[in-house]
């Protein structure tokens, strides 16, 4: 199919498709002439996946490119896929944090990261020590310490146990999927796309709980169920 059809069937504008092609998010179509290329169903699937990752979750285009490269090349090693996908961090767009990142990567490890490793050890998780998630968790623990919140890594253990059960659900989602690329795509979807869903559901449950506990306010007397 031509780019116009790809655009119509995907709902993505032609300039955006061109942009993705330029950046390597979409593999180039098979060139049938100097100014004609042929796109297949795989391009459509890939385009939908890109739109999902960039649009719903807000991964930077570069991260999406890495993920897709991993899916395409080493579609076999699911653990690799999971690792690359989960290591992707949301959009940053500041250079200052890049410097902080450099400082941390230069070996200077904050106390929060050490705490994060303790939590990982306490949970019995076997992970790559350099995983971005450890740094993320460390940042949060640092911030909590800075804020004198009285929340340390031990208080996160109940959360960690629930996170563990979530991850069990995650790997269950891989059941019944056959085909290497399909498995990889499913891994991407489960890891990446369910994040905002989880957060949204947590927020909804929070709203429910906080309404029951704190919401019996003076203004709106919604009879508590």
């Amino acid at each position: 199919m031509k780019i116009s059809e790809l655009s119509r069937r995907s709902g993505v504008s032609i300039p955006t498709i061109k942009y993705y092609l330029r950046d390597g998010l979409l593999p180039p179509g098979r060139a049938t002439a100097a100014n004609q290329a042929d796109y297949g169903e795989e391009h459509l699937r890939r385009l939908r996946l890109v739109r999902t990752l960039v649009g719903v979750r807000r991964l930077p285009v570069g991260a999406v490119k890495e993920i897709l490269g991993a899916v395409t090349e080493q579609g076999g090693d699911l653990h690799q896929i999971f690792g690359i996908v989960t290591d992707a961090r949301p959009v940053t767009q500041q250079q200052k944090q890049a410097r902080e990142r450099e400082r941390e990567e230069a070996g200077e490890e904050t106390g929060g990261v050490a705490d994060a490793r303790e939590l990982v050890a306490a949970m019995g998780w076997e992970v790559n020590p350099g995983t971005a998630a450890v740094r993320s968790l460390g940042e949060v623990l640092d911030a909590l310490a800075d804020m004198d919140a009285g929340i340390d890594w031990r208080s996160l253990l109940p959360y960690a146990r629930l996170a563990d059960r979530i991850s069990e659900l995650d790997v269950q989602q891989m059941n019944g999927v056959s085909g290497v690329l399909e498995l990889a795509e499913r891994a991407v979807l489960v890891s990446v796309l369910l994040e905002p869903a989880l957060l949204a559901m947590r927020r909804l449950a929070q709203e429910d709980k906080s309404a029951r506990l704190f919401g019996g306010g003076p203004k709106e007397g919604e009879g508590e169920g």
Copy 2:
């Protein structure tokens, strides 16, 4: 204290502090003269909170402003605080999605949002129907449907149950905190700051689980424990 001391004690550069003052993220100091202002400990706390929300979590400055305004003004109504805080969405920076948002707000409701409401009903959650989280969840369900992932709102129910338990932990974090502003700040921290922590722990657990299930690959023979 003067702005320089505020900068030193917070680790935030003076131009950044000025920027926050401009945008209303920090209340202006008490002006002691035409070019002198006095900042107190509350400014320091507020500044740390801002840095946490903007830096660790990546809330747009406008959202942080709303949250802080809510914390300051209606510090009493915890449910209100939770609502405003959890309604804040991560940085968007595209106008196209703003248009999509408009379309949705114009009344045109996608199927995913309807599914999200079904999930909410199935969980027995009582929430404001206009909550942003419902739309977020709807977006994800739309995306899942678009991808033909075979994941519908029913398959998210186990996740929803875990989210519910997470929210129970969340409200437990409010115990032992006294003082209206302290409670509000705690609500912000718990709602906002634990999000990346949760996601990070989920990723770590995923990595652990995927290593056990799929990682016994040919390359690295880490004895499965």
